[in-house]
Symmetry: C2
Subunit: 205 residues, 2 copies
Amino acid sequence: MPKLSQPRTKPDFREKLRKKVLQIGRNLIEQEGLEAVQARRIAKQAKCAVGSIYNIYSDLDDLIIALNMITLAELGETLRHAHAASAGKSTHDRLLALAEAYFDFAAARRKHWRAIFEHILPEGRTAPPDYRSDQDRLFALVEEILDAEIDEPEQRASAARALFASVHGIVSLSLDRKLGEFEPQATRRQIKFLIGCMSKGLNVD
Amino acid sequence: MPKLSQPRTKPDFREKLRKKVLQIGRNLIEQEGLEAVQARRIAKQAKCAVGSIYNIYSDLDDLIIALNMITLAELGETLRHAHAASAGKSTHDRLLALAEAYFDFAAARRKHWRAIFEHILPEGRTAPPDYRSDQDRLFALVEEILDAEIDEPEQRASAARALFASVHGIVSLSLDRKLGEFEPQATRRQIKFLIGCMSKGLNVD
């Protein structure tokens, strides 16, 4: 049945190449960082034409977003674990558990984690809906913890993003050695200070 | 007096070229961002040999640090102004004034500001003492505001860095459109939430 098998084979080949391209992309990030993710280099390693990559991903930004979504999924697993493990604890302890899990993930998977933030979309272009909904699911973990403290959903969403961005700021400036050499203990101390003050502040009217 | 004039002329030429190189470097950042700062491009515009640039700066990292120190000095002026203008106000109002001044500076001077954080020194290399002491002078502004709340100097220094990193996290994720499109009002709201909780939390034992 050549008429039936033909359309079946093509998507199969495409799917195999897609997986191969992603694996090569991930290795390049792991070894050299985001700037190594170039269609030419990936095509060479995948033994395919550069055009075949652009049959799957419309451009390099599209491919990088796909790579970053894999890291985001791994981060999500780590954060969901910390969220579940801290169930029943105080708001302070739960926020601290998430913040520390984020720091540990970033420190252990530094190049992959950095690629998420190094990649800046060209002006006028927006991230795909899938990417934003993956992100929103992660923020939902923080929002759930803040549920008791902040009633209004929009305010709670904004607070969760502010808290995440604050922890991210501490983590990224220290991993990038922007405020001095990287000292994990100093970073943990800053995270504890932030979460300590924030959770006290949340409970004061 | 040729023997006297000769050593005088050389540093003079060197100083002129240094200023020219910095001005060209700044223009390149302004127009295209940090990745445009390349010795070859600067030499072409300065009408000098690439080697002449490396007579002044030992390598590209050295030149980029010099460029970033100019931005740091401008940021310092902005923050010192906000610090002075808020003298006598509450801890909350003073921290908020500094945080908002930081956001306004970053938004207005986006490419120069981003260059400070995009530049990551190679592993094993440390920032020059001048760079760190410029930074320390900026942190001293925050430390002075925290003086009434945190007695212990080392703890105060750590708190000032944690606060800065938190505000920086909010500012950079929103300017880089990492959590959605850039909406200045949403960013200001997150900054207010952070400073609001933090200053309440600082005053609770």
